[in-house]
């Protein structure tokens, strides 16, 4: 018997590999391979029926780019065995429904596409597919469900039409027309407040930044004008027309989309990123127009390749360059546009930013004759249009470019950008060069940066990242803390204890007057201690970290209140203002070791002392790392609480059930892990406290934004000046960035924010940022 099992296993494996590989490069034609495979499978339908059903369905979902190959195969099988065809349809329908219930939106779309393409293969009747699409339109027109749900149903319908539009047009023209009218009505009523928040560029010149459903709708209308004929999808079933026409068709059962549930997460809307048109790629094949359906199909295919191979950057690059229709399109341009679309995706990219950077590096290595040039052209275009780029994308562009340069010896023709030397420092172009140099210096070193830039660009060379220790300067004698500072240096070098440090600082006078609210802290002590300690540890990050952890106790004693913590941060800044990366890691360290709280960092960033730093990237890097730290903490606590609750519930339910041996053994281990009610209560309290802190942090950040922006707007109004300055654009962009980058966590406090801060009497410019954010998941 064992022999039989292993034999069967062997056959199953062989079938699986045959099915998986059909459509790959082969010496014989696809048609003859499909015909051969259909015969092999037909012979095995008896024994391996369920296995074959499962593999085919898996292929349909996991290799959507081979959809039409597999529908043809199913069509051929249906012609041989009507029963099998029916079972397959049933299986696919179940997959579609399960995917909808599991919120696997892409899988659902691929299942739907497959069902639609089965109409082309005469497996399913056109009218039953139309019935399904009508049911989906009904779901889109439901009231009291999130717009993102309704949008998805329309997107699913529209993105299926390139496959089946022609067939529906030929067989059921009026029903198709009716469907399209329903879609148009839906789109005309649809709110699009989110559109502006998701755009990479604020203006539509040279390319409109279209909302994804609007863009797809235009593409579908164009397709309809072209009598539903497109040039991208291979249709192997056309070769088998005579066989397939002879087969009987099935009818889809009635499929009703599962009703909305509050736990369902739908895809967020997006904006279609466009940076190239046919004039940008003058040689070779022509770039399909923005509203041609081919552009949509190519982009979708390239995105799915990235998604499939994102974990293996080399494979990813190779598959992108091996795109099946590469001779018909300007492939490098399409790839670069799609990768930047992912990198600039709002609110956040799907992968790590560095994943895209490393894929671009591989592409340059694999195709050195064309790829680097196209990428340079893309960089040039992005730089030319940077004036209207949103702030999050500006940051990502800087991060990518500095990383890319560091992988290619920092070679770049800076001279081409000489025209921006005369621009205002706050203008996005000089800002981009300066920030890129700062990031490049982090990856490299000062001397190198001075060498890569031409002389005329010397103003963009960052200041050398050294500490600025005032107690060692010539005029230090006049400072009140110098004596103590010098003594502290000696003591720490002699490996003194934290208590001894406090002893050295003991007699420093408190410069604050008695009346000040919180005179418990002494800013002079903090000044001498923080600057001296950090200067002693200035050799490297590790030295600084070691110094901080050794004298952690001193920090805690000197800086208990938030005001005192801000004072610590201010002194860190005074010492390290030339070393942005150091300040970032120090803030990170002091948050982790609880020397400073998140709220202190936020208040410090918005404080008067930091006005000069306010439009610099690193400051926002700090704010975002602070918010992320808070968010992580809350997510961790709520995860732990949920786990404990589940364990408790499981343990309770198992006590009442059967008592056989195995069960009771299991119960014992479960009971050992079982948390007490009291433990769960304590966890709830901790989570509540953390959420209160988180809410407080967001309130501080947003309130500070509102204050400075309102002040600016009012001042410009009274002075009769244009409010729309560089400073204003950076600042409102940063506000937008906080909303978008942390949208999942901010979401929880939407209503609090609306009642406390973003009230109707606020300036509409500021209020709009909030409303755009709210509409993201509405």
């Amino acid at each position: 018997k064992r022999r039989r099992v292993s034999e069967n296993q062997e056959i199953e494996d062989r079938l699986e590999s045959l099915i998986l590989r059909v459509g790959e490069k082969s010496t014989s034609s696809l048609e003859s391979n499909l015909e051969g495979l259909a015969s092999v499978l037909e012979a095995d339908l008896g024994t391996f029926r369920s296995k074959i059903l499962r593999i085919l369905t898996d292929c349909a979902i996991k290799m959507p780019e081979k959809c039409t190959i597999y529908t043809t195969l199913v069509g051929l099988l249906n012609a041989k065995s009507f029963n099998f065809g029916g079972e397959f349809v049933e299986y696919m329908v179940r997959t579609f429904k399960d995917s909808l219930k599991a919120c696997k939106w892409d899988a659902a779309r691929y299942a739907l596409r497959f069902l639609a393409d089965l109409v082309n293969c005469h497996v399913l009747s056109a009218s039953s597919l139309l019935q399904l699409l009508d049911n989906m339109i009904d779901a889109a027109n439901e009231d009291n469900v999130p717009q993102v749900r309704r949008d998805w149903y329309v997107f699913a319908i529209l993105s299926t039409l390139p496959w089946v539009g022609r067939e529906l047009y030929e067989k059921k023209e009026s029903a198709l027309e009716h469907l399209l009218v329903s879609v148009e009505v839906f789109l005309n009523k649809r709110g699009k407040k989110h559109h502006n928040a998701l755009r990479v560029w604020a203006i539509d010149v040279p390319h409109p930044q279209e909302e994804y459903l609007d863009c797809l709708w235009s593409q579908i209308r164009k397709l309809k004008q072209d009598n539903w004929s497109e040039k991208h999808i291979p249709r192997p079933y056309l070769a088998f027309d005579s066989i397939l026409c002879g087969a009987l068709q099935h009818t889809l059962p009635t499929i009703l989309p599962p009703p909305h549930h509050d736990s369902y997460l739908y895809p967020m809307p997006w904006v279609v990123f466009r940076m190239f048109d046919y004039t940008d790629c003058p040689e070779g094949p022509i770039m399909p127009g923005a509203h041609s359906i081919e552009r949509f199909l190519i982009e979708e295919h390239l995105h799915s390749i990235i998604d499939m191979y994102k974990l293996e950057r080399k494979d990813c690059a190779a598959h992108l360059l091996n795109f099946p229709y590469k001779l018909k399109i300007p492939l490098e341009y399409c790839i670069v546009e799609v990768i930047f679309a992912e990198l600039f995706h709002m609110p956040t990219p799907r992968c790590l930013e560095i994943a895209y950077g490393s894929i671009l590096i591989e592409l340059c290595k694999l195709q050195p004759s064309t790829m680097p040039q196209v990428l340079a052209q893309a960089t040039e275009i992005l730089f030319m249009r940077i004036d209207s780029m949103n702030v999050s994308c500006f940051d990502r562009f800087v991060n990518w470019f500095s990383y890319h340069l560091s992988n290619f010896q920092f070679r770049w023709s800076w001279e081409d950008w000489e025209s921006c030397l005369t621009l205002d420092d706050e203008h996005p172009k000089p800002k981009f060069i300066r920030e890129t140099m700062l990031k490049s210096m982090r990856l490299s070193y000062y001397q190198r940066i001075t060498e890569i830039l031409p002389e005329s660009f010397s103003r963009f060379v960052p200041v050398k990242a050294e500490p600025d220790y005032k107690y060692a300067k010539d005029d230090a004698a006049s400072l009140p803390g110098t004596m103590a500072a010098h003594q502290l240096v000696v003591s720490i070098r002699q490996k003194c204890t934290p208590e001894e440090v406090l002893g050295v600082l003991k007699d420093l006078p408190n410069p604050r007057s008695e009346e000040e609210a919180d005179s418990r802290f002494n800013p002079l002590k903090i000044d001498v201690f923080v600057q001296t300690l950090l200067n002693l540890g200035s050799k490297s990050f590790s030295h600084s970290f070691a110094a901080i952890s050794k004298f952690h106790y001193v920090f805690k004693i000197l800086a208990e209140s938030e005001e005192a913590q801000i004072c610590v941060l201010r002194n860190m800044f005074e010492l390290w203002h030339h070393h942005q990366q150091m300040m970032i890691v120090l803030v990170d360290k002091m948050l982790k070791t609880q020397i400073v709280e998140c709220s202190a960092v936020a208040n410090w960033i918005f404080s008067k002392e930091m006005v000069g730093e306010f439009t610099k990237m690193y400051l926002w890097e700090m704010l975002h790392l602070t918010i992320k730290k808070m968010n992580k903490h809350v997510i961790k606590l709520s995860g732990e609480l949920n786990e404990a609750r589940e364990k408790l519930a499981r343990a309770e339910s198992s006590t009442s059930e059967s008592e056989d041996e195995e069960d009771s053994a299991k119960k014992k281990t479960e009971n050992a892990e079982k948390p007490t009610e009291e433990m769960v209560e304590r966890m709830e309290e901790r989570l509540e406290a953390a959420q209160a802190d988180q809410k407080n942090l967001f309130l501080i950040v947003f309130q500070r934004f509102i204050m400075i922006l309102s002040e600016h707007l009012v001042r410009c109004d009274t002075d009769g000046r244009d409010y729309n300055t560089h400073w204003y654009k950076w600042t409102i962009g940063r506000l937008q960035q906080v909303f978008l980058e942390h949208h999942e966590q901010v979401q929880k406090y939407s209503s609090t924010l609306e009642t406390l801060l973003f009230t109707q009497d606020l300036d509409p410019h500021i209020l709009e940022v909030f409303q755009q954010f709210v509409s993201l998941q509405s």
């Binding site: 790590l352 560095i354 991060n399 992988n407 982090r442 990856l443």
Partner: protein, 101 residues
Amino acid sequence: TKAEQDKLLRVSTTLYVGSLSFYTTEEQIHELFSRCGDIRRIIMGLDKYKKTPCGFCFVEYYTRADAENCLRYINGTRLDDRIVRTDWDAGFIEGRQYGRG
């Protein structure tokens, strides 16, 4: 034992980073490697006698997932014009930072 070692490697969040330039600093490594996630610590490899950097280091992340991304996206790319190599490490133990230079 070999089995214990393998087990450590499977759960490790530490990477051994090799073929660095002797001049590459902890700061540079931090900048590049933190692009894959939050770093717990970096331990520079030092020459046993001179106590100067000698071309390798250990980077420890907080999570396994971040370390995996580092292997995916940083291994084989450049830092300071040199191709860096990263590999799983069973976890740093005091003393291992001293190399032969």
